[in-house]
Amino acid sequence: MTDIKLSNAQIAWRAAQDIEDGAYVNLGIGFPEMVARFQPEGKQAIFHTENGVLDFGKAPEPGDEDWDLINAGKKAITLKPGTAFFDHADSFAMVRGGHLDVAILGAYQVAQNGDLANWSTGKGGIPAVGGAMDLVQSARRVAVLTDHVTKTGAPKLVSHCTLPLTGVGCVTRIYSSLAVIDVCDGHFVLREKLPSCSMEELQALTGAPLHTDGPVADLICPEELA
């Protein structure tokens, strides 16, 4: 079993490479927010945040925060030329109406049919769904960023989710710490994997069969993000 895996920054970098020029993108709270740092040269993504801002800028310098100007993670953001404000009903009209090109979220589990579980560990505690259930059912592409396995080594890519679902059949691509995997017609289809990780190792860490429908590329990310 390989010890080498991608850092969160590398996973976010890899996901950023697939965002088309001019795409409207929503980044989930936490780790997915990191994707905004890695927009490739010459491609411009426009970021949407659930609380009613489109096309916002980077985080302000500490001390320069305006707490009326935040993202869905309640972190301070900034204006840029082209920013637009709107209310929550309009914000989710954008989401639900299918106007977002990509939503990028974290996951507890993703099933081979595209089911996603990312809101509840099922252990009781206080439920909190936020905007994820809206995003995953309606964005044109739903990408998941995740470690390939849990902290205890259990697969997060599974034959079917055992945790409470966020959405059914919604995930289109998974960027894991070991591989890039698409969900196609109820199967996981491997697109890229770390060169250091064999097919057998990867399959052993994955809870459902990995299919291929062509060559599997090497998953190479910038070393400096490791």
Binding site: T49, E50, N51, G52, V53, D66, W67, D68, L69, I70, A72, K74, I77, L79, F85, F86, D87, H88, A89, S91, F92, V95, R96, D115, I126, P127, A128, V129, G130, G131, A132, M133, D134, Q137, S138, P164, L165, T166, G167, V168
Partner: protein, 235 residues
């Protein structure tokens, strides 16, 4: 006709025990702290509150909950930097929680304001949040039927307000405020500045006055995030 009221206390005076109250804001952004604190002072109990979150620290909505005044909370995300007030109240069984996906929450409120008693959404289909709800297939896809959400009162925060209740908002502090304004029998707005009629360009009005029953000026409103960084506690 002049909807301006001289104090937050007067603006919230008639909210009775048992009222359903929508409170604007997303986290601290757009939260009408002074109106919430006036409601704490006023004493109404057994409230049902609709808010995206469940309060942060010991001010605003968290303080209202801490005072034991909220029987039920309808929200999408009861987490924050310091959710201890809600967590303890919930774990003690002293508050009922209805979790609604954020977009469905916004749309249910919008439906309440727009006279739409029910609508269908793809959100939450196949999840436990949709359990027991009516499901219908349109064009081969399954949707969940959701009901409108209305309130007796809405407490909202705007930026400018004129005597007829026309409002603007400040940046992302807009969030739930305009849509909640439409869905309450009585909408009470705090604004940073009163302006005369004509003081808001007709093209820039975000909430037309028809949705606002009372407004009060709070020139330098408290920002929940800053109160919490200063570890403020209300009252």
């Amino acid at each position: 006709m002049d909807k301006r009221i001289s104090s937050a206390a007067e603006a919230v005076a008639e909210i009775p025990d048992g009222a359903t109250v929508m409170i604007g804001g997303f986290g601290g952004s757009g939260a009408p702290i002074e109106l919430i604190h006036a409601l704490i002072d006023q004493g109404a109990k057994h409230l049902t509150v609709v808010n995206n979150n469940a309060g942060n620290g010991h001010v605003g909505l968290a303080a209202l909950i801490e005072q034991g005044r909220v029987d039920k909370l309808i929200c999408s995300f009861p987490r924050s930097a310091d959710p201890s007030v809600f967590v303890e109240t919930y774990k003690a069984g002293k508050i009922e929680l209805e979790i609604v996906p954020q977009g469905t929450l916004a749309e249910r409120i919008r439906a309440g304001g727009a006279g739409i008693p029910a609508f269908y959404t793809p959100t939450a289909f196949g999840t436990e949040v949709a359990e027991g709800k009516h499901i219908e297939v349109f064009d081969g896809r399954s949707y969940v039927r959701e009901r409108w959400l209305k309130a007796d009162f809405a407490l909202i925060k705007g930026e400018l307000g004129d005597p007829h209740g026309n409002l603007t908002y400040r940046m992302a502090a807009r969030n739930f405020n305009p849509v909640m304004a439409t869905a309450a029998t009585t909408t009470i707005a705090q604004v940073s500045s009163f302006v005369p009629l004509g003081g808001i360009d007709p093209e820039h009005v975000v909430t037309p006055g028809i949705f606002v029953q009372r407004l009060v000026e709070v020139p330098t409103p408290a920002q929940e995030e800053e109160l919490n960084r200063a570890e403020a506690v209300y009252p």
